[in-house]
Symmetry: C2
Subunit: 209 residues, 2 copies
């Protein structure tokens, strides 16, 4: 174990920072406590001492990567209800458009897609920290579902733009996309049931097969 | 190399089937030609002989997993333009709701999220086989972008429902979700610019909650 130099981050901070790097680089499956310890220049026992199991280290690392989302959530709680859609939409492009905040999130998505345990941790965190809190702003009985469909639009956009990189979506100016997406997100949150005017007509039409 | 029995699939079919299994189980990164050959009971050289590189085997396997999407695309090309949103939405729930069709798609998503080469193959296939063809049905100059934003809503929903499994989205009846999503998808495809009628009002209105 390396001796600490004055002004250097303490072991828990170094471990968390190393854990984020390790999970980002190798995903939950392949990341190891040993490598996290090596990156932090501590003994593996110290990782367990401070954070417990690999699952618990991951949860803590994810929470840290998730802090911009929590900040955005607080912003969404502060604006007028009819601005929540735009606030959420802007948040997605701000966070995913910046490599510094995108990479940790991408690492979480990768881990969650690859591993059931990581998916469960992610689900718990997203539900507790984001979805439930945002749903609390809405009065509709289906508030949670509304928030999730809104988030689905944004998550899908982030996937296609920043991960799969389909064109023209990947290179379209963020403001153009925000102008199109914010009303849809807002509709999910506070629109009347099927409240896209004209859409009910389309859906209930019986002239289909 | 095992001797073929009459009635058994020929080597190319066995190789493709084994490749799908291998890519699904281990992802693009970890999948190996050797394991694909073993699963197909052929020599690895035969995998290369029929399909070329690992990248090319993956592309072929993805194309096969993708065939339900191509069928749905053809259906979306056949219905009235104002039904395309619902057709696409129903397709997503049909394909992702059935483990037999979901698993190969999930394997592709996993690989694409983990590996740039796999993402590029997926992007090429999705663009050529789905997005461009569907955009061809629309007359708007921004047809490709419209299709992509529509697909983003559906992809995000599939991710949250079937991969991350957030509640209540994960256990809500598909018909309830289709009723909410189809109008949004249709709006992306054929709505006026920001054309969720009433959405402008919703966005600025204060007469809710």
């Amino acid at each position: 174990m390396a001796a600490r130099v004055a002004g250097e981050p303490a072991a828990p901070e170094r471990i968390l920072s190393s854990a984020r790097t390790e999970f980002a680089a190798r995903g939950y499956d392949k990341a190891s406590i040993r490598a996290i310890a090596r990156g932090a220049e501590v003994d593996p026992a110290l990782v367990h001492h401070y954070f417990g199991t690999k699952e618990q280290v991951f949860e803590k690392a994810v929470e840290t990567a998730f802090s911009p989302a929590v900040a955005a959530r607080d912003q969404a709680l502060a604006v007028d209800l009819d601005q929540v859609g735009e606030t959420m939409t802007r948040f997605i492009f701000r966070v995913w458009g910046n490599a510094v905040t995108r990479e940790p999130l991408l690492a979480i998505v990768r881990s969650a897609v690859n591993n059931e345990t990581a998916a469960a941790i992610f689900r718990r965190l997203v539900t507790r920290q984001l979805l439930s809190v945002l749903a609390g702003r809405l009065t509709a009985p289906d508030a949670e579902l509304r928030v999730e469909l809104a988030v689905a639009q944004l998550v899908g956009t982030a996937m296609l733009r920043y991960v799969i990189k389909v064109e023209p979506l990947a290179s379209t100016d963020a403001e153009v996309l925000i102008a199109r997406l914010a009303p849809v997100v807002q509709h999910h949150l506070t629109g009347a049931d099927l409240g896209i005017a004209g859409a009910g007509r389309e859906l209930t039409g019986t002239d289909r097969d």
